[in-house]
Subunit: 477 residues, 4 copies
């Protein structure tokens, strides 16, 4: 640990030179978070008990929104015409510092808070990604910062982005299109994780589509020449994808399955559906690869006399790390420290980990440590990536889950309802609050973050992989 700090000291002469939050103000801010934490951890449990899917987070969104309104924030409801999106704002003028919150759940992950697989309601949703902790921690941070601005008579605006549908639908893309990030100097976000770390990872840009071929059915023995096989088309498309593999950058990932591939062997298949995902660490590169994959999908139809339709399910930009914000977050996270388990929590965590059947788990003590930022290639994606192409974005991972517990599992769902997850919530809230405070105390930091942003993107334009004219998949009223 000593080593890592000393490296930090060496590498960040610029940062330390800039004015930051004074030590006493910092202490006062952390105290403020601690005092309000019980209210927000209780809310995280309520949201956990009533998990709502993407674009359907009516109750979860309202709970957070109304608490922010009660705390004095001005509310912009139904942001970007999304029923469960909102913006809560306090203060005046620049800099505008945003904090992002999410609150949607995942299908099929219903689970009680026990270290064994036990759905509350069979087949129902569950908070396997910990968004019940995410939205609440961010709101707690925003309110503490608001208090801090008042106490220290600082200029600027603290803003909470209530963003729906991260799991499916890429809700933030619509907020970006509505221009709601345009005036933000910096945006901060975090994600529930199984470790504590200032995030320097380039989460993959990805695009997820359904490819549907339509042919003409015929009896496969009596009149195969009258048929046009949609399965032929899919196989030809698949072959083209596999031929492409040699001629795309090697970090690219293209994978597919057939979700529907014929009704009966003696009928020429007239309808076939594939699920296809394409990923690359860089949005612009992915865009050019995706163009080629789409051509390959059309080649499948052209070569077999069938028709093709491509429906975008979701599309995420890669996350563009920001060196200034990464280092600020890392410094603050080290001030806050990780998650320390009680004996009971430790027992629970071990019981959960035992169900993973893995012999290569990191030590449980890692929950209390802070990992150094390191640009590993993640295979996951987030629409915070899209935000990071539009405004300097800082991102934090906090150990809401025991080391080694993967997201999107019944295990992570179970923990997200316990005090373990809630301790991670507080770590995140404190780190976000300290970082926002730094930005208000030293406006030069935002300028430095902007310079990093410009350098990282070098003029590359953001364009979402979701088609311009696509409507968000809102539930029918």
């Amino acid at each position: 640990m000593t080593y890592a700090r000393s490296v930090l000291a060496l590498c960040l002469p610029g940062l330390t030179a800039l004015a930051q939050t004074p030590a006493d103000a910092r202490a006062s801010l952390l105290g403020s978070v601690d005092r309000q934490a019980p209210f927000w951890t209780a809310m995280s449990r309520r949201i956990w008990e009533n998990p709502e899917l993407s674009f359907r987070e009516n109750a979860s969104s309202a709970l957070i929104r109304e608490a922010l309104r009660d705390a004095g924030f001005a509310i912009r409801d139904r942001a970007a015409a999304l029923p469960t999106a909102f913006i809560a704002e306090w203060g005046r003028g620049a800099p505008v510092v945003g904090i992002i919150g999410e609150f949607d759940a995942l299908p099929g992950l219903s689970q009680i808070d026990a270290p064994e697989r036990r759905p509350r309601v069979e087949g129902a949703p569950g908070h396997g990604c910990g968004h019940n902790l995410f939205g609440t921690a961010s709101a707690l941070a925003a309110i503490a910062v608001k208090q801090h601005l008042e106490d220290n008579r600082l200029t600027g605006t603290i803003r909470y982005y209530g963003t729906p549908a991260e799991e499916s639908g890429a809700g933030k893309v619509y907020l970006i299109r509505a221009g709601l990030f345009k005036d933000a100097a910096v945006v901060l976000a975090w994600h529930p994780w199984n470790a504590n770390q200032a995030d320097d990872n380039p989460w993959l840009a990805n695009i997820n589509v359904k490819v549907r071929y339509k042919g003409r059915a015929a009896h496969a023995a009596a009149a195969p020449d009258a048929g046009r096989s949609a399965l032929d088309a899919a196989e030809l498309f698949a072959h083209a994808i596999n031929l492409l593999r040699e001629h795309v950058p090697q970090e690219t990932r293209m994978h597919y399955i057939y979700t529907q591939a014929g009704r009966a062997a003696n009928i020429v298949p007239d309808a076939v559906e594939m699920s296809v995902i394409v990923r690359h660490p860089d949005l612009a590169t992915l865009e050019s690869i995706w163009e080629r994959v789409r051509n390959a999908a059309q080649a499948g139809a052209l070569g077999t006399g069938t028709e093709v339709a491509v429906e975008t399910v979701s599309g995420y930009a890669n996350y563009v790390p920001n060196a200034t914000l990464r280092d600020l977050i890392d410094a603050n996270l080290r001030r806050v420290g990780g998650v320390a388990y009680t004996a009971e929590e430790r027992a629970f965590a071990e019981a959960v980990r035992a169900t993973l059947g893995s012999s290569k788990l990191p030590p449980l003590e890692d929950a209390a440590r802070i990992l150094p930022p390191k640009p590993d290639l993640l295979s996951a994606s987030t629409d915070v990536g899209d935000v990071s192409w539009n405004v300097p974005t800082g991102h934090l991972l906090a150990a809401t889950f025991p080391p080694g517990v993967p997201l999107h599992t019944w295990q992570s769902t179970a923990v997200a309802g316990t005090s373990i997850g809630q301790k991670g919530l507080v770590v995140a809230a404190k780190t976000l609050a300290l970082t926002a405070a730094d930005l208000f105390h030293s406006p030069a930091l935002a300028a430095k973050a902007r310079a990093d942003f410009d350098k990282a993107l070098q003029g590359r334009a953001y364009r979402s992989l979701i088609p311009e004219n696509a409507k968000p998949p809102l539930p029918v009223q």
Copy 2:
């Protein structure tokens, strides 16, 4: 019609020269069928009301079996160890003339006797192939022939083969393996159809298999190189099939679908299942093609580092028409005549045909006509084909369904429960009875049929496409 008869006269000097059933004996035989018909048409309705799937025809089989026992036939129960197979026999010595009966239904075709789609029980089986008429007509013929043998003091044995599982499982293959067709001089069978015709068609030999690939799952973005894709294997196999098409006889048919092809796009598929059918008009040729397709299935595994398992679902030999028996049946069918509708039946038939949405239906009057035998290539298969490789076999089609109504539809199911279907049953029973009688009156006919049989097969050996060691898919007790 005159023309057809004269052609017949020209072409069959041999047949007419042989002694056949005298005209008065023939009249007496037809009268016998007419008298017993009501009992058997009623039974066909009972079986129609209680459709039973392949190898599960317990009640249907018992009804026919016990009526034959009551008529004085000796019963061999559970023939070839199949619970619903039996053999009923009367008489002594040569020639042994067999008549085949079937009684199994099809899944998902439940239907009432109305000219609109209306299942009796949603999702339940139905007699869309008319086997409720098939087994009963054959039994009616056998009993009438037994009476005829007694009345005319003829030597020989009349035998009824109660054969289960024609639709799925190829029950007759097991009876053949048990040697139960070895001592038969001739076997007669028929099939419910939408026309009347002595059958000269080479029904396709076919083999129907499941091909299952097993690979190794892995996260498709994080560790695709750790995965072995069962879908890759299936695609490679499919490619091999499509390459084979150029190098098999052009009458071959090979078709496939993917019944399981991946769980989620971000997981390398570890289990994929295909349904594959291969057909050819000739069993021996099919066998050599099937050998190559099976190699191609293994190539799919070998080329992708996966494992393959091939399970035979069913395998049918082609039907080998027998010229002597075809001509005998044709002559007798013309004596019996086709199906004449009442006004009510005509209205029902037209109502059913109207639901087919086809503008190219043959005239309804065709039900009353007899089509000349003509070797069209059928795209259907039957395990009577397997019998025809082992013993000279005559086959008849009778118009139990209105012209143009396809088998295996709700329309054919509906008609099979009405007087239209039952009239076809009587036409079949009479024609079978007359033909069997001819064979007893003139033993030279069986010798002639045997000569045709030898010539058609020219020493080619029968080998079922169902592996020797395969067990019939009997229901678990």
Copy 3:
């Protein structure tokens, strides 16, 4: 033979009812052919000794043309702007009866007139298709018919079509496009063969193309993602062809090779060339299949980010047999009789046949027999097929080659220079002359042939598979 004639008598009441050439006129015509035969067989030898390739038949064409001019025919030189095409005509008014002559040789078949492989000039062309006999026999027939018209004071026009480039380039297509067959009532043609037969075979329509893919080269180890593989494109196209096989009529043939497929394994191939042939017994069907194959070729490019160019090498329509002309030719061929060998010719023919290494040769005596017309599917193609879509066309095969000797071989080349080939020339000339004479004696025959033509094509329009704007591949002047 008796049997065949009686069948003919039975089947052709219409023909016999029509007035035909009187017996004495017939005898006189045959005598005329016999008298002039030595001049033309000698010319056939001269052409055989100086074989000229397609569109380069300058000497061969001139020899025939000038002999026809000398005989009083009016000459239309450079027909359809093809230097070696011409039309020679005598007479006035309808009916116009055309006789087709060809005279081009094949590359690489140079051979002396010995029963062993021995090129005159290594690598030079040779008359392996017997066109040295073809053009001369037709001219001999035309001149004999001219004499017959004069002698019998018959009205009408006898026309000789001197057509270049049958082997490669489909010269007749350009004559058709120039409207030169429009006013012909009937056209007669023949082909050197290994049997005598009025032709009832539907020679295959076919199209022969080069498909060229252009990609982008790159070092296959250092920068494969910078490459766009033309070989990928070709493989994808090939896969599409193989997928198409199931969904075209089973008589279709599609075959291809790769004539250029990469320079070195460590370079991504930027240029690949395929040779592709597609065939079907019917031109219109072939056209629709070819449309799909061309789409598949484009799919290869679209799916791999490469470019494609398709160049038509040649395209032939199928031959549409004409029942009236077939029967006329059959009757006249039987009058003329086949080819009878001398002892020396027999020895030569046997020596040639011995080099074929085949144990299944037809008897040598077949050269003297006339085979009954029978519509076997030939795998060969001819641009006489294109003519047959535009005017009623009669076609004859004459035994210029011993039974069993295939065309396009050194064996057929050798025989085409001997008295065996020349005897076949005379058989062809006589049969053509008799048939033309019938058409002049009985104009109703041409009307009957026209009715057959209309019935066979049923309004289907002719469209050559050679693109409208393609120029004939003439040698550069």
Copy 4:
């Protein structure tokens, strides 16, 4: 440069602590090289003027061998039974330090020493890889080291490996198999290059094979079902390779072309040949990938009823850098310095570079600089890689070619015959001699290199990709 040295100082405390060659001994050694250089540069020119292909380097090998014999080295002729391999040795006992020499040329690169493309003999071989400089420089170093051992009364053995067939055939593999590297403590080698650098690059392991499919020819229109297409097999194999791409480590390279792919489109291809290369940075991984590719090649045959034969053309292990030797070489190379051009050489170099048509060339001055070692992934391969799996191996790159000039070009061939190449020869000889001297002065260095070797390979066993029973492709005597 200062920076680089200081880093070096920081990183190599171990090295500097070890005794090395004293400064005066070093000066004397360098003087010795300078004195003998004219003899060896002249020989390099002679070899350049008479370029000999792999396993045919009779004259080139003899020149070097006899000069070493004259210098007092003991010669082992025809090492490993390869006519052009030899070992020259001087001294006694441990440590044995080897220096590798190569001398084979490349096909088709004949070129004079001018800055424009001009073959000496059209189509003849040329020294485009600079092996005329390679074998001579190494011999010069060996002789200087021998003198140094005598002068300084040092114990140990200096050994020269005369290794044929690096370009094609992997000659060193046979020397390894003969056990000729077993007793060497350390082996040193170098390669002509366009820069000066101690080599830390993992040259790719690769395997280069011919895959030949044998099918059965048939007329593609008349009897395609009688054919078994070798082209089908190749396409199926290619498809399998492309499917594999997703499931091998992303650094893998697999590329192929079709060197023979059908004679004529109307014949089912019975013989197809592919050239296939597979590469990976690690030999053991490549071995397991190659196993799968070979299975895929067999799947191509199995799926199409054809036969396959795989012939290994060459197989190279990756190069395993050795940290101790890399640092020794780097230090010595910096002592020696790079290549300084005269005005004339500079003009020649610029003229050559101008022909490359590249706008991104490094500055010409780079020839005089020393690049820091850096593990870039090279796309090239060498059989020095195989040696490095068997004995600690140090490798040097010296600027025999102007910066930016690629190997295996007419440009590199031209320069290899000039004073520019010869200056690089001297740089290499000096650096090799100094490094060998260090190893004799400080035996602990060899032990340290051995420890690095053990650590890098961690017990992984060497197995050449060339099959055990393969014979070297020697010219027929």
